[in-house]
């Protein structure tokens, strides 16, 4: 009798277990997160990711390097002398780019092909080119061809900067071509930069082509005519691209830094000294009376400019000077300065007096110095200084490097988890890590 009861229990147990796999399956997946999404939710995410990456730690560091602002507290104070900057600082912008924005853009390009939506593919390729340009100008050789493989290949090789620059131009050309093709799906409100205006994207792509062709000025691949042609294409359309922000949430990253880390950075330095000597009317827009705030660039809703027409004009002026045509360069230079000042909201009579008072000799130094003022808060300033040496800057006393940095060290996570592929050894000297000496300078900076 007792064995009968044990048998009943055992059978009950087995029976209960037979229908329980279904009971377990109900809880297997996370019902609150999707396993697949549409392109229209991936695109805005990648764009905001790019905006924050372009507007957070990278331009703050390069603006301090270029003495356009000064660190006055905590780690920013140390950054003046290039101290307390290490591999660990760059994990976030790198991972946000590769594992965040770039990976999502990669998914968009794949989906766009499957769904016959080249409009999305075009925008995604152009945005990918923007990311690659930003990363390679800071870090040099970076992964691309083997990147985004996920489980298939967790250790991507680093491609040479020369091949990255070629990839950027290919992406921009392919992107522009995609935008002209008929598309089953097209972005509208999900495109936070151009609102779905594919023609504007084409112009933005032209401006980016001009910028990255221009970066080759120290290499033998530089072609001034190609640069000028790209500039003309861009200026013929509306190439202005920027990301917008809100007042009480998702504020501009400069606003966030100045408010959440007050006093870390103050608005004085070599750039302001030079601007004061010129009685530059932009000073009141760049810094507040007590130098703690940046009224134009750090308003909560200040847009973060990605591509501006005045940048393209400066590029054209530089190309013209390199071709040996200062007269033509002068006209474009004045347009560039005026365009920049009007964008800031400077009074037209002040603009006129400033332009009239500019040095009569149009040379590379004048163009690059004016661009140094106009491109304030962009890390393009650092690229321009590395290419041309203008304006002339000297490292501050107490600097722990022998000169101003010319590149950033690779992020720590690549050393830890992809060490075989990182081109620079972890025990390189500080001067080598920052490209001041040694063989790790950027390819276009050699």
């Amino acid at each position: 009798m007792k064995f009968n009861n044990i048998a009943i229990i055992a059978l009950t147990g087995i029976a209960l277990s037979a229908c329980s796999d279904a009971w377990l399956e109900e809880y297997k997946l996370d019902q609150n997160r999707p396993s697949d999404v549409t392109m229209e939710v991936l695109l805005p995410s990648a764009q905001v990711n790019y905006g924050i990456t372009q507007g957070d730690v990278l331009p703050r560091l390069t603006s301090i390097f270029m003495q356009q602002m000064t660190g006055t507290d905590r780690q920013s104070l140390a950054h003046n002398t290039y101290s307390v900057i290490g591999e660990g600082d760059f994990n976030t912008p790198w991972n946000n780019s590769y594992a965040g924005g770039l990976y999502d853009l990669n998914i968009i390009i794949t989906k766009a092909e499957e769904l016959g939506a080249p409009a999305y593919a075009g925008i995604a390729k152009i945005t990918t080119a923007m990311y690659l340009g930003l990363l390679t100008d800071h870090f040099g050789d970076i992964p691309f061809e083997e990147a985004f493989q996920g489980a298939t290949d967790l250790t991507a090789k680093f491609d040479s900067q020369e091949s990255i620059y070629a990839a950027i131009q290919t992406l921009l050309d392919d992107g522009k071509a995609n935008l002209l093709e008929p598309s089953n799906l097209a972005p509208s409100g999900d495109d936070l930069i151009h609102g779905g205006d594919l023609i504007a994207w084409g112009s933005t792509a032209d401006a980016l082509k001009a910028r990255y062709l221009n970066h080759l000025s120290k290499t033998s691949l530089y072609d001034a005519d190609a640069v000028i042609a790209a500039c003309d294409d861009a200026l013929a359309g509306s190439s202005y691209a920027a990301l917008g922000f809100d007042a009480s949430l998702n504020q501009n990253p400069w606003w966030q830094f100045l408010n959440e880390r007050q006093g870390y950075i103050t608005q004085f330095g070599t750039m302001y000294d030079m601007m004061e000597a010129n009685v530059d009317p932009r000073i009141a827009f760049y810094r507040s009376a007590d130098s703690t705030d940046m009224p134009f660039f750090a308003a909560a809703t200040a847009p973060l400019a990605i591509v501006t027409p005045f940048e393209t004009m400066f590029i054209k002026a530089e190309a013209l000077i390199r071709k040996g045509d200062p007269a033509a360069a002068r006209l474009v230079l004045e347009d560039a300065v005026e365009s920049n000042m009007m964008w800031l909201g400077v009074d037209p009579s002040d603009i006129a007096s400033y332009v009239a008072a500019m040095s009569a000799t149009t040379d590379l130094e004048l163009i690059m110095t004016e661009k140094y003022y106009a491109m304030f808060t962009s890390s393009e300033v650092w690229t321009d200084w590395r290419r041309t040496g203008f304006p002339a800057l000297t490292a501050p006393s107490g600097a722990i490097l022998s000169d101003i940095p010319r590149r950033l060290p690779y992020p720590e996570n690549e050393y830890l988890y992809n060490s075989a592929n990182v081109p620079m050894p972890i025990d390189a000297s500080p001067d080598e890590k920052f490209g001041v000496s040694g063989s790790y300078k950027l390819w276009w900076d050699m």
Binding site: S17, N49, D89, G100, F148, G189, N250
Partner: protein, 700 residues
Amino acid sequence: MNTFERTTIRLTGSGQIATNLKATASLAYTNSGGYRIQQGSNTSGLMLGLLRTPPSFDNSNGVDDPTDQSAYINPDGSQRNYRSGTGYDNPYWTINKNPFTDDVNRVFGYTKFDWSPADGLLISYRYGLDQYSDVRKQVLAIGSRTNVVGSISDEAYAISEQNHDLTARYSADLGPIGANFLVGFNANQRDRKYVGTYGTGLVLPDFYNMSNATNQQAYESFIGRRIWGLYGEAQFDYDEWAYLTLTARRDQASTFGDVATPIIYPSASLSLILTEVLDIKSDVLNFAKLRASSARVGSEPGFASNATYFNQASVTSGWITGASFPYQGVTGFSQSNTLGNPNLRPEYTVTNELGLELRMLNNKLTADVTLYEQTSRDLIVAVPVAGSSGFTSSFVNAGTMRNSGVELQLNAQLVDSKDFKLNAGMTFTRNRNVVEKLADGVDVISLPWGFFGANQRLVEGQAYGTLYGDDWLRDEEGNAQVDAAGYPIYSSTEVVVGDPNPDYLMGITSNASYKNWSFNMLWDIRQGGDIWNGTRGALYYFGAHQDNAVLPDGTKRGETFIWNDVVTGNSGFYAPGTLDADGNDIGGQPNSTPIINDWQSYAGGPLSGFTGASRPFIEDGSWVRLRNIGVTYKFTNEALEGTKLEGLSLGVSGRNVLLLTPYRGVDPETNLSGATNSQGADYFNMPNTMGVIFNLKANF
């Protein structure tokens, strides 16, 4: 003003429903909650505002009442603090204006049926339920430093656990061998549901309903797990001096990629009563038992590690809040940075234990010693991967970790007379932990808290949670390198700086009673365990630490001293190629250049936590603590005659009364990242509490 209250009601009952069938039920209801204050490493934390204010500014504005507004609000309504509204919140502002409140309602109970259909056979079914709701609100007033536009966070959690156990027990006597058998079936379900709203941009002051927020974001999530299993146990005893227990269990869980994956865990244990085996009958050694056991325990992966998902998009940065979605009215998703793994296997831990229990001297002295070794394999780890792959972590079965150690317990009845009794006890534990392997190609995994310069990692070959940080440049012998000005040279490469695991833990208790009085004491001792004193590093920068007024060696503010390296005890050596004022090469010589004890060395130089290395701020976190000391009086039966009481006792005890420690911060028993698996960091954490408890117990 930090408060926490709890009320509990419990009812238990049982009854005989039918012959051989008994039912028991118990139900408890608890309501708890409180008003709590921000702490830790955030701009609106209490300790940051409190400690970083220079001594020349009085946060209280001269008033004694902490709720007096004149301490923290200016006549024009703005916040009164040492930086005119910037910097950190006045601690009085934090206490009064930015509270965290919570309300938890919990129901906890079970119902059980026991049926005995035949002699020696018992069948039971037990259903247990633990369910609670936790409603929380965190407000930041307009003008608070972490969010000047103000914010409200409303969160609600509904959490429950349900458990079914159906078991059959059978006992039999087979001559000298007694046998007990158990067979059972278990099903367990855990649910955790969350809904939260976050609003910023408040308009009406001091009004904290979500309708007052110009920007609102809502979140919801659900985490759940179901497990079912079959288990069995067989227990044999021989002549009541040898005991053998064998168990086996087989589970299946919902968190595997394939829910049919079994988790199997067997165990065996044997104990021998040596005094019976060896026929020892002595007053010196009354009882001795030897036990040995080996058990394997398995566990399932965490929720959602079996697949790769898309998350609501957001961009975070270590420096700024970043951006979140919906963004300007648009929804955004991004592929998760964590690669899921549908092929995860169970984790298994094998524990081997050997123990000896002794009772001596007429049972007046007892000792228990246990040696153990525990090896965990196939630990499921979110292995970090290089971001260029498109992900930053991936779930794998990879880790192997070993814990080994000894536990010792002693207890002595020192005095046992009619009126006076005295008892003393001691526990001692020593555990050694080694992370034997992480994953192929992975030598390091970072744990939750951490900044560049001070963080905690899992490293192959080292103890769990080794502390890493930046250090001074050192030569081959480990001596710090200094520059011509006498300052140590900073090196940005992070190195091992400490081990937060203690060498050993000890507890000492003592109980005494004299007639109706009883007295007890508990000492808690920890030897070893490093802590990063980030608070001190930060305060050096502000010049607000005791050392900035007078260094431990007596140097006052403004006076000069020669820098000293806490690690080696010497003052460092000049780096190769260092030139003195006359241009001579002094590289390699011992440092003899005095530096000044003022801001030039700390904020303007490398000696603070923000501007230099973190290694000098690693301290020894050992402690000796009087955890509890109390006295109780029990009324005698004579005293209670005439009352309806059958028993009455009154007592008072003190908790955390005394702390002796070389640690120079608030309390080494502190953790920056809260109740997580990392430890060893103090960065403006709150001090521990000391308490007095009054106790009244009455029997009717």
